[in-house]
Amino acid sequence: MGRSSRFASVFLLVLGGCASAPSPKESLSLNQAGAEAYRRGDLAAARDTFEKAIQVSSKDSESLALNALSLARVEQAAGNAEAAQRALELVLGSAAAPGLRAEAAGRKALLYFSAGELKQAVDWQSRAQALCAGTCRAQAAILNIGARIALAGGQAAAAAQLAERVLRLPPSDDTRAEQANAQRILAEAAAAAARPPRFAQPAVGAPREEVR
């Protein structure tokens, strides 16, 4: 499916959803089904399900944002960065809570970082941090994204500082995985600091793919 056609389909889904009455139970069911499909690794089914969820939840900005964030994650996992960006634009253009918009900005930063566009990544990471204001559930992830960007920019000390902030956050289900990531970033920062300057520049686009 091409970019324009996918954008058109998402747009039509939202537009079609506006014409029908919101159905919270259906939206919830679709949201859970999409998450289940993603956990199974069935990205196509997850994409279809989240698109339907967006369609039925178009009048509920929070529900729309949640399903669009999920769709963005699915598209990013499928390697469709532009489709992911379009889904994130839906979140950022909605009246969703700042925490959800912070999460969307953080994912945009991550997308730009993966594309090697550090400047854009820095901008969106800053916006995400501002929207989160230290209270959103993605706070730890946003800080780690900043740390990774700093590390890729050769600022190992700044990266270490951001990672240490993540480690100081109260442990919870939302922060536990990111605190593990912070440990990893700290190790990479320490290694970068110990290396000669010409090797202190980690490849900017290195973490473009993730093997799970």
């Binding site: 919830l28 690794g41 969820a53 399903n67 994650r73 990013q76 993966s114 780690n144 993730e210 093997v211």
Partner: protein, 323 residues
């Protein structure tokens, strides 16, 4: 002379005696000559027959002609035919002279053959009469000719037939003498197989003795089993007797079972209604549970399912299938 003749009596009648002597000598000479002529067949009535041969080898003028082993004539002339003579050019015309009195024994299908009297005797022409139905030959008739196998041709034929046999014998002898030849190898394998057979026979002997011992053990166990079977049969007989007693009570048991089944059937008739009631109860229970979950204090204890976004991970990226 007159004086001696007048006085010697031995000369008396000398002229008469001399004339007699000369007449006797002349008679002897004439008789001998006549006998020679008779012997030569000069006074025998003869006729001529002909045959054609591919070669004049072994044939010559004066050669005897035999019929049934008796001489009945001789070869009169042997000549080579040329073009225009009526016979095939290059063939040999042989003319034989046959005594006329034997001509009636030679019919049209007769064949003249050249052969030898004995293995190494003189060559003769033998006339072999044909079928008895054909008529006798006439003067100057032509007979068929075939050359009978003589010793040299027989020897040559024998040599031709023996040559491949001798060649085979030679190759066979060579094969026998060759250490890696088939025959030597076959003999070696046969010797080895014989040795293995002897070994196998010994093994079979051992196996047979073991089998004998095993069979003896099995038979002993079979005897024991038969004894046990006898015991079991005795017990079975007792059980059957008991079973007879039990079967006598079966009608009563059957009646009881029938009554029980009737009761079960009556109870099962009410089952569908009971199941419908259970479904209604379950639905009512769910309604009550939903109501309770929304009421204080339970509404604060039960978490309401909410929509959630897939979490943001700082290391998110495209998924790569793990092999």
């Amino acid at each position: 002379m007159t004086a001696f003749a007048e006085h010697d009596s031995r000369f008396e009648g000398l002229e008469r005696k001399t004339g007699l002597f000369l007449a006797l000598a002349a008679a002897l000479v004439i008789g001998g000559f006549a006998a020679a002529l008779v012997r030569q067949g000069m006074f025998t009535q003869t006729t001529h027959l002909h045959f054609f041969a591919n070669s004049a080898q072994g044939m010559a003028k004066g050669m005897a002609v035999q019929l049934f082993g008796f001489k009945v004539g001789a070869v009169d002339a042997v000549s080579l035919e040329t073009l225009g003579s009526g016979a095939p050019a290059g063939s040999v015309r042989v003319r034989v002279q046959i005594e006329r009195e034997y001509l009636r024994l030679i019919n049209q299908g007769s064949t003249a053959r050249i052969g030898k009297e004995g293995l190494i005797g003189a060559s003769v022409i033998e006339i072999v009469p044909g079928s008895a139905t054909s008529r006798p030959v006439a003067e100057n008739d032509v007979l068929k000719f075939e050359r009978a196998a003589d010793f040299s041709s027989m020897a040559e034929e024998l040599s031709t037939q023996l040559r491949p046999i001798l060649a085979d014998l030679k190759s066979l002898t060579e094969s026998v003498n060759r250490p890696d030849g088939d025959i030597r190898m076959t003999l070696r394998n046969s010797r080895q197989a014989t040795a293995e057979l002897a070994s196998a026979a010994r093994e079979w002997g051992k196996l047979a003795s073991n089998a004998d011992r095993g069979i003896a053990g099995v038979l002993a166990k079979a005897d024991q089993a038969v004894e046990k079977i006898d015991t079991t049969f005795a017990k079975a007989t007792a059980t059957v007797e008991k079973l007879d007693t039990s079967l006598a009570r079966m009608p009563d048991l059957m009646l009881k079972l029938e009554r029980t089944l009737s009761n079960v059937e009556a109870a099962s008739a009410d089952l569908p209604q009971t199941m419908r009631d259970a479904r209604v109860v379950a639905r009512d229970s769910r309604t009550m549970l939903d109501g309770a979950k929304g009421s204080w204090p339970f509404n604060s204890m039960v978490a309401e399912p909410r929509e959630q976004a897939l979490p943001l991970d700082s290391f998110d990226g495209p998924l790569k299938p793990v092999r």
